[in-house]
Amino acid sequence: MEITTIEKAFVLLSTLGKQVAQSGKAPVAAINEIEKALNLRFPNTYRLFLSRFGAIKVGPITIYGLSLPVDDEPSLIWALQGLRSIFPDMPKNLVPIHPVEESGLLACLQCQQVEVSTDDAPVVLWDMRAPTSDQNFEPVSPNFAQYLYDRLSEWKYREIGLKTLEKHVNRFENEYLSINKLPRNHIWRPYRFCVQDVVLGLVVVRHSLANNCLDVDVCLISDAPEYEQGSGARMTSAFLLSEAYKCGGTMEIRFTENVEDGTVPKALWTFAQDLGIDLHHVNESRITSSEARQLYIALTGFSDTLRSQIDLLAQQEKLSQERACYVVHHGIWTRTEVESIVFGSLRPDGIFSGDTPPEQRHLYMQEIFHTRATILGGFLDRRLARRERIEGTLALDLEDDTRRVNIEFDPTLYAKIYQCDEELPIPWLESHRQKGFHIPAGHRLIVLVRARDANDLVLHLQQDLVIARKLAILSQQQSAASSVFILTPRDSQELPSQQRAQFVKAAEASSVGLIVCPETVVTLDADAAKRLASSRILR
């Protein structure tokens, strides 16, 4: 098996021809001698590599080995001498084989001592910038052959991908960008995904009219060490799946011969595997529509209960799974807002598609009412999650400085249940007595979301208070401590002051808090109509 892989790597090297600079065959005696000097046993595949190539340089990849002069790159002796002088604590069984470009990481063989009978030597990445310890060695490949093959094929795929990309970009520039023309879905379109100056993904896609699927001609994914592992694959697969949905095909994704020799890119299928989705047609260079759907849902990160409910509604043909995912990736709804819509609304698909015309007013208004309530709940979600740091008189606004708030939705009460591992200040409290109220860490905050205008509040707030009071009494009897609140829009401030005061008094007497979001029903409805309109023109 291992020999097969090393042979594949050697074939790959021979096909690269003049692009490979090799130092030349190393005599077996020289290999034995260096093993003896290091008191280590090289794996058989590395010995084969040394005896066939000595050491190589191909593109940006340098594989250390036996070469002359011995005191210069890519000599293994040169590398070892340098490293051991700089890092005297470097473990003696590490044999450096490949400096990973610009990362400060060094791929090393973890060799066995000479006296050990086995020649197993996994490849690890050593972070030379960090203090030496056992934790610094991240296993990256089970053996040298696999490592060599992976690096060479990665480079080859990247070269092919970049050349293909360049061709597409030039054509796209000439035929579309330069004349301000927008391409149709069935035209090859290049995309680049970056965070600041770091490229995480490059793709070229089109909708295949013949096969009603998404064709991918370039799919280059990078995993920048500055970002969470798998960020590139996450971003790229999210795009491909969203694009597959947007183009209106079957969700199937097919990769051309230009992508990793006509297979599904390794970064994609390993990422899918990490999410618990096995792709069964990797070598046929396609992700089937059902696999794509599963991957899209897993990638979107819905809770288990929400996933089950979406699956159930999909079986009943009441909801399209991919549409529920797409509205999240497109930024129209957050995951928790989707949960409110899926569990709370009678017609979630109508909200996600936004295609109910106002002439069908009952259906349209049903969607507006639930969209309004969802948006109101979303305001509170974000407000609760946002930390406010104040130093003296200075308010600090830090990026991504959010609390980890667990949010659930109870459709029977139309309530949101929040729980946080730190103290949670409650915003927008109506009662002056409750200002500055905090929910202790681990306690539950139950919020009845009531997106009612002033007239409806007059009619229903009393009943909402009764429900909240019952809930407050019930929660006191349960083990998990809870506080109960009612969330309304700012329209409650339009109520006659006497009536408002009565509501506040009744709420205080019932141990229930009133939270008044600064938004009014008018602005919520405007936002609701906007989101429905955005949903309608998504595809």
């Binding site: 106002p358 002439e359 007013r361 309530a373 009612r452 009619l459 600064p518």
Partner: protein
């Protein structure tokens, strides 16, 4: 549990043909019904759909609001139906959430027929009732839904309405709590209460809201503007967000800051206008206009009076009281940023006011509506026009009028 309810309310024929006095108020739906039906026809042509649909929503909302604020009575028999009308209550029947499921299925299965028969609409004038019952019966029969309880109830109610020469308006409450265990009665009581609380009690309190509760809003906005002016004085940019401020508060507070205690115009202090959508309007000029004495203003007494609502189609009940609408709703309420809307209103107002320069003295009574960029755009242009005329005798004045449920329209402070 939270669920949806639908209230079918019957309205006598005369309410569909004219404004009708009813329980001390007026039922004014007929013009909205005519507008909405016209829009439905135009929508089928597929032209200007976004604007038409926006107007359609407004019309339907007005029809529904007019009915929701009336005294209603649950009826199941023809006698009860007639008795309710005699008692000046609108007969009503309640449908549960199943009605929505029925509608969804019918619209999916027979979209063309359902659309033709106005299925899913919320108002049905008396002349359309017979046809509607026939098509509704036929479609529900075809879909195998004829025995559905809500279908039967709806058909029954429409037949009663037809016999009594009524039309039907349907209201929806999507967030009604139903306590199954306690067996809460149908929520119609809520609708009846709505009428009782909405008129008298609410009106009594309106003045308090205007004068007291909103007092702090004046103070808050005043403080923000004062700070912005101080920032400008210190060489920084003074920014004020005018979104979500009531239009009367904006108008009155800005007026406080526009004038200087001088007899001549001074160089304005400009504060930056921002809106909640993140857009930035042109700066607003403050502390620049001279205060005119009563004697100077006396010559405006004989000026022509123009009564204008700020925007058309916003408060149609204003139409009787005004000569024109300053802005056309269709031109202002377009998809653009609030700052762009502000700029549009500013430019149009500037153009209009410049045209009045050759037409003698003019007083405008401006019946305002609460769309902030329109208010800001209008008054920015107006201040600039007053600045242009500052060193001339008084020739232009605007008096804003605000709506109060208790007193009707009441004037704000004049700008001159």
């Amino acid at each position: 549990m939270i669920t949806s309810y639908f209230y079918l309310c019957a309205l006598p024929r005369n309410m569909w043909e004219q404004n009708v006095p009813w329980n001390g108020g007026m039922i004014t739906i007929y013009s909205f019904v005519a507008d909405a039906l016209g829009i439905e026809r135009r929508l089928q042509k597929g032209v200007n759909q976004d604007n038409e649909r926006t107007r359609y929503n407004l019309c339907c909302a007005r029809i529904e609001a007019a009915v929701a604020s009336q005294a209603l009575a649950t009826t199941t028999t023809a006698e009860q139906f007639k008795a309710a009308l005699d008692d000046h209550r609108l007969p009503v029947s309640v449908l549960e959430a199943g009605y929505l499921t029925v509608l969804t299925r019918l619209l999916q299965q027979t979209p063309l027929e359902a659309s033709k028969s106005r299925l899913g609409a919320t108002f049905f004038p008396p002349d359309t009732i017979v046809d509607h019952i026939a098509v509704f019966s036929q479609l529900t029969e075809q879909a195998g839904l004829a025995d559905h309880l809500d279908v039967k109830r709806r058909k029954g109610f429409f037949e009663l309405a037809c016999r009594c020469g009524c039309g039907v308006v349907e209201l929806q409450n999507a967030f009604q709590f139903l306590d199954i265990a306690a067996g809460t009665p149908p929520p119609i009581a809520s609708v009846q209460r709505k009428n009782i609380t909405s008129d008298d009690e609410f009106l009594e309190e309106e003045e308090i809201i205007d004068n007291e509760s909103r007092g702090d809003l004046y103070a808050i906005l005043g403080e923000q503007i004062q700070k912005a002016i101080e920032q400008v004085g210190a060489g920084h940019q003074g920014v004020v967000n005018f979104s979500n401020q009531p239009h009367n508060v904006i108008t009155e507070v800005l007026r406080e800051f526009v004038y200087q205690n001088t007899t001549r115009a001074t160089k304005p202090t400009y504060i930056q206008v921002v809106y909640t959508d993140g857009s930035r309007g042109e700066p607003f000029p403050l502390l620049c206009l001279p205060r005119r004495s009563k004697n100077h203003l006396a010559q405006l007494d004989d000026a022509s009076l123009l009564r204008a609502s700020l925007m058309s189609m916003r408060h149609l009940e204003m139409d009787d009281a005004v000569d024109m609408a300053w802005f056309r709703n269709s031109e202002v309420s377009k998809s653009r940023t609030l700052a762009e809307t502000d700029a549009f209103c500013y430019e149009q107002t500037g153009r209009e006011l410049r045209e009045t320069q050759s037409e003698g003295n003019l007083r405008i009574h401006l019946y305002q509506t609460g769309f902030q960029p329109a208010v800001i755009g209008f008054y920015r242009a107006f201040v600039e026009e007053l600045l242009y005329r500052a060193n001339l005798p008084a020739s232009l004045e605007v008096t804003p009028y605000y709506f109060s449920r208790r007193t009707g329209y009441w004037p704000g402070q004049s700008w001159n």
